[in-house]
């Protein structure tokens, strides 16, 4: 197997939990040291790994064309490169793959490597099916957020061997006019717990009961498409076929009937709870736990129960 590189995103200078898992996973079959490309600041000095780890920090800003990614593509020549699926990671990996004439596989759900060959199971049709493919030559892989790392061996911390910075300043002809980060809320795509609500809430003013429950759980809030179309909730909260696809440990759907387009965005959830006053709501067929009842009654009671202990 070729040398392994990882594109990892950092938050407040630390590696994300999934990036640490990915590093442990790959260190078990990497032939030698691992190259960790960190997007954003690096404040850590050791990472759990069985191989030595070299870190290159990628400067913030746009990596949006071949001239800006060229220095990075040169460094990655001869590497197999992995990342955890996100908008920016997939964009960067696909640009790098094509600029070096390599193939890329995204949406990887399972991955094994033996006898010079990768065997990959990839999630397709919004999680309704999976596709098994093999490749000897693909060099770029984007793994789903809910990739199963449960078989990972536990490695001790390995000091990182060197840190250098790579900037993209040389190239990009595009420029950022304004950044509009979402503040004050848990970002939906990464959230482990999500509370979603739909038209069953009847009025945008009723969302406090959803927000209170989400706060008591430490969950992100989501909504169905009709709700974002009505401008009751911001577009970035829309979960479904044409919105955000989520794969949290827990998804609580309140007043959402369960249209197939909505299910396509939440199929990846580990546990699904459905609360709806219509016992015929199709969503109940896709629920682990269902409660037929009025959200205005049920949600505050759940919040109270969570707050009580």
């Amino acid at each position: 197997m070729k040398k392994v590189a990882i594109i990892a995103q950092t938050k407040e200078g630390q590696l994300s939990e999934t990036s640490i898992q990915l590093l442990s996973f790959l260190s078990s079959f990497s032939p030698e040291s691992i190259l960790l490309l960190a997007v954003g600041e690096v404040k850590f000095s050791a990472v759990p790994s069985s191989k030595s780890v070299e870190v290159i920090t990628l400067s913030e800003g746009l990596w949006a064309d071949s001239s800006s990614i060229e220095p990075l593509a040169e460094i990655l020549e001869g590497f197999t490169v992995f990342g955890i699926k996100s908008i920016q990671v997939d964009n960067l990996l696909s640009l790098l793959a094509a600029s070096s004439s390599q193939e890329m596989i995204s949406g990887v759900q399972q991955l094994t490597y033996s006898a010079g060959k990768f065997t990959i199971s990839k999630s397709i049709f919004s999680g309704k099916a999976s596709l098994t493919v093999t490749s000897e030559s693909a060099s770029y892989f984007s793994l789903n957020r809910n990739f199963d790392f449960s078989g990972n061996a536990a490695y001790g911390d390995q000091s990182i061997s060197s840190v250098s910075t790579l900037t993209n300043a040389s190239g990009s002809k595009a420029s950022i006019l304004a950044l509009k980060p979402i503040t004050g809320a848990i970002p939906l795509p990464d959230a482990a717990l999500v509370v979603g609500a739909g038209r069953g809430l009847k009025d945008p003013g009723n969302w406090t009961i959803v927000e209170d429950l989400a706060k008591a759980l430490g969950a992100a809030t989501a909504c169905s498409k009709p709700v974002s179309d009505l401008n009751w909730r911001p577009h970035h909260e829309h979960v479904g076929q044409t919105g955000v696809k989520i794969s949290p440990n827990l998804y609580i759907a309140c007043g959402i009937s369960g249209a197939i387009q909505h299910l396509a965005g939440v199929n990846g959830s580990r546990i699904v709870v459905v609360i709806n006053n219509d016992p015929e709501a199709p969503f109940f067929k896709h629920a682990d736990y269902g409660i037929v009842g009025d959200v205005n009654d049920i949600l505050p009671r759940l919040t109270k129960k969570l707050q009580s202990h």
Binding site: D90, F125, K128, V133, S175, L177, Q261
Partner: protein, 244 residues
């Protein structure tokens, strides 16, 4: 401005997916195909740009002749001409390279497509095309306006959005609310009949081998809790499933 809109033809969202046991692949039997919903947004915006700023809009699809009715629909919506790269591509690279070879012969100012196709969900064809051509790349784009010699875009990113100034040529993955879906007019349907669909051979290959497709069965517990006992849910989430 010359705009290429790349479309996927995919089973309708409500389709029940089944496996053809003889090939171990997704069976196309009984499925209704549509133009990929994200691609439809991209096409709608291209047609709006044609109407507001003047542009030539070409639709490209990589696939078999069964897709011609859907390509014809894109022409009815207002695309000027269409190209079908004839074949049965199995990977993103194969599709991307087919687009790249067409664009190398027929340079474009702007290449638009959906952020992903809703069947194989790879979401990387636009990035691959941009990487191979050396064009500027943004994805997923929620607003697109012409500004001077380039574009002004609103792009979603992890944890927020950004506004960018984007030079041409560019390859963009699109998502709502970039435009409203359109319905073809009677006049559009009539004129589409005489518009040209150029058919080219698919000459690109891929080193990735497809082994088999399987239906993912997510077994759900389907346990109902009475409304009066709703609080029990919290206990079950804590003890039975350990998600809290």
């Amino acid at each position: 401005m010359k705009i290429l809109v790349c479309i996927s033809c995919v089973p309708d969202t409500t389709s029940k997916i089944a496996i053809d046991p003889s090939t171990s692949q997704i069976s196309s039997q009984g499925l209704t195909f549509i133009v990929g919903p994200y691609d439809d947004y991209a096409l709608s915006r291209a047609i709006e740009l044609k109407e507001s700023n003047g542009a030539e809009v070409i639709v490209l699809h990589v696939g078999g002749s069964e897709s011609e009715a859907l390509i014809r629909k894109c022409l009815a919506l207002g695309a000027d001409s269409a190209v079908r790269v004839d074949g049965n591509p199995t990977t993103s690279a194969q599709i991307a390279n087919a687009i790249v070879s067409y664009v190398k012969q027929n340079p474009m100012d702007l290449i638009l497509m959906g952020k992903e196709s809703i069947d194989y969900n790879s979401g990387i064809v636009h990035g691959l095309v941009a990487g191979a051509l050396g064009y500027t790349h943004f994805n997923p784009v929620m607003h697109l306006d012409v500004a001077g010699d380039g574009l002004k875009l609103e792009v979603e990113m992890d944890g927020g959005k950004m506004e960018v100034s984007c030079p041409l040529p560019a390859v963009l993955g699109c998502q709502e609310p970039i435009a409203e879906w359109k319905i073809p007019s009677m006049r559009g349907i009539m004129t589409a009949r005489t518009k040209e669909i150029v058919v080219l051979p698919l000459e690109t290959t891929s080193q990735i081998q497809i082994v088999k497709a399987e239906i993912a069965e997510t077994a759900r517990k389907n346990k109902m809790i009475k409304a009066e006992d709703a609080e029990q849910l919290i206990d079950l989430l804590r003890t039975e499933t350990n998600v809290l």
